[in-house]
Symmetry: C2
Subunit: 340 residues, 2 copies
């Protein structure tokens, strides 16, 4: 690999946003939609989730060119009952549909204390944490998940038939949020590829090799596609139930059907929002969370290299750093983006 | 260990139930409550979850004698708003409070399509799957969890400050259900003790030894209490968020506060029920689940010893076997129960 390919440029937030807006408008996005979508890709990058921000932007544009993502599609209501709404995403941009669904769930929760929005025929939401942060920063608790293309075998199986189905839980905390955003595979394909590129072993076993042995060798796992579910049989079970719930509550496709489509589009997603203000103990909720976090932080550390952190804590630090110094992007990636 | 201690007796369902009723009535349970509670302990045993059925019954009676579980306490409503109800369990028997909370969530869901019941000051619910089965057999989807005493370190920590916080997801399936019921630790303490007694290694690493190395040696983990969260940092994060949500939504104690109480009582639990009948796609839901299960079952097996199963599938087989041949109980355990 050439030196110049691996070198990093630091892009100011405003420059990245403006560039994304320009490209999205060129690819059929209206002005307001280009702004909203560029905002999500920029913030994901600003907050350090490059894999679902700037590093994925070119692929997002490809999915528009492929016709899998329709820039001008709007979600339409399929069915509504009580605190549940079922929407059709009409193959619109995943991040826009997901923000829309989160906002709908917030509106229902405001009225009925809890709101569940299930959306069928939507697309990759990029970073699940986006919607957890979106709801939690407004003071709501959030539970959400998506199904995906099959990329993980069932427990005891060799061929991938389960999705890694990212799952998000979020609560407001002080002026920020605690946001857990995790996939059902121990490591993402992107993470394993980056270990492979760096010629490094995974810190913990991440899947099985062709001899059905657990391995820390990323290349062996990328060859078998036998990624490891978190907690072995437990993560495989959780992936299955999240898919069943996503497909049944939305009336949309399951991982099995998405995989038959041969490309990852027309996904099913769930957005549950709880209005904490309506709870009897609302005035002490932030205090309760503070006590829990304070206790965890008082843990005896394994060593000085292992600071005890709550999920999402790093985001706040990274956001500040990148706001000051610009968002780090591999030169090669940024050079491609400006040509789009 | 003497031969007689390890030998097994087979107790007919009716005999076990009758014995449990007798003992519960002797310990302050009214006739109907003794029946309901005996029913749960018997069914947990009938369905093969002995650790939270017959094998735990004597300890449950102890918790009544200790005063941590109040046999005659009834849950009382703290607060209600929209589709959410917050209850006080008043330290009543965990299984009775949990069935009550599930039934309340069902009632709310019938009216508003989704119901969330949060209960504070309740007790160990024994087997979480009980409530998933209860709702799913009636046709509802179920999501629920409990917090616990601290029994797992945060990621990067040595001392236990997180609970293993069992999490349950269930959907109806044909005339039965698919029920996932799992704790955040890779193996329960009970499971590790049973491997230790049998002088066996765990099938996969289950925690850290005193040198901070991952180990399959159950005795080493029981010594350090450094159990492994499923998916390492991911399960630790999920445990934290489930505790935060349980404590904030119920207004009850967090794992931190329960641990300060020095005994595992006054827990916080969440019960979410969704009325599938109110969804636009209700008529095809069972068909959707069938297609997903059929696809998983068509997986290429690693070997002939690894049948691909959905969560809860074994329960149906075990239930049938134990109904025919009696419930297997270690002779020593049954001999103790009949003296209670």
């Amino acid at each position: 690999m050439e030196r110049s390919n691996t070198s990093t440029v630091y892009i100011p937030v405003k420059e990245m946003y403006t560039e994304f807006v320009r490209i999205l408008k060129k690819h059929g996005f209206s002005d307001p939609k280009a702004g909203k979508c560029a905002d999500i890709f920029t913030i994901n990058s600003l907050e350090g989730v490059y894999s679902h921000g700037v590093n994925r932007f070119a692929r997002f544009i490809e999915s528009i060119e492929d016709g899998h993502v329709k820039p001008d599609a709007e979600p339409s209501l399929n069915h509504s009952s009580g605190s549940i709404e079922q929407w059709n995403g009409n193959l619109g941009p995943g991040p826009l549909n997901a923000v829309f669904a989160t906002d709908r769930a917030i509106s229902i929760a405001k009225e009925k204390s809890i709101g569940l929005v299930a959306i069928a025929n939507t697309n990759h939401w990029m970073r699940g944490g986006t919607y957890g942060w979106h709801a939690a920063k407004k003071g709501y608790a959030f539970i959400g998940w998506t199904n995906t293309y099959a990329n993980m075998p069932a427990w005891g199986a060799k061929d991938p038939r389960l999705g890694n189905n990212p799952f998000v839980l979020a609560v407001p905390f002080n002026d920020e949020a605690i946001v857990l955003d995790f996939a059902m595979t121990q490591y993402s394909y992107g993470k394993m590829e980056s270990y492979l590129n760096d010629e490094k072993q995974l810190p913990y076993p991440g899947g099985f090799n062709s001899r059905s042995e657990l391995t820390t060798e990323p290349g062996d796992i990328l060859e078998t596609w036998r990624t490891l579910p978190i907690g072995y049989w437990k993560g495989a079970g959780l992936s299955l139930l999240l898919d069943i719930l996503a497909a049944t509550l939305s009336g949309g496709f399951s991982t099995h059907e998405i995989t038959q489509n041969k490309a990852e589009y027309a996904l099913s997603q769930i957005f549950i929002v709880i209005d904490l203000e309506q709870l009897g103990n609302y005035p002490v909720i932030n205090h309760t969370i503070n006590k829990i976090v304070t206790d965890i932080k008082a843990s005896v550390q394994v060593d000085d290299n292992h600071t005890i952190r709550y999920p999402g804590e790093n985001i706040i630090k990274t956001r500040k750093e990148n706001l000051n110094s610009g968002i780090p992007v591999k030169k090669k990636i940024w050079e491609k983006i400006v040509t789009l």
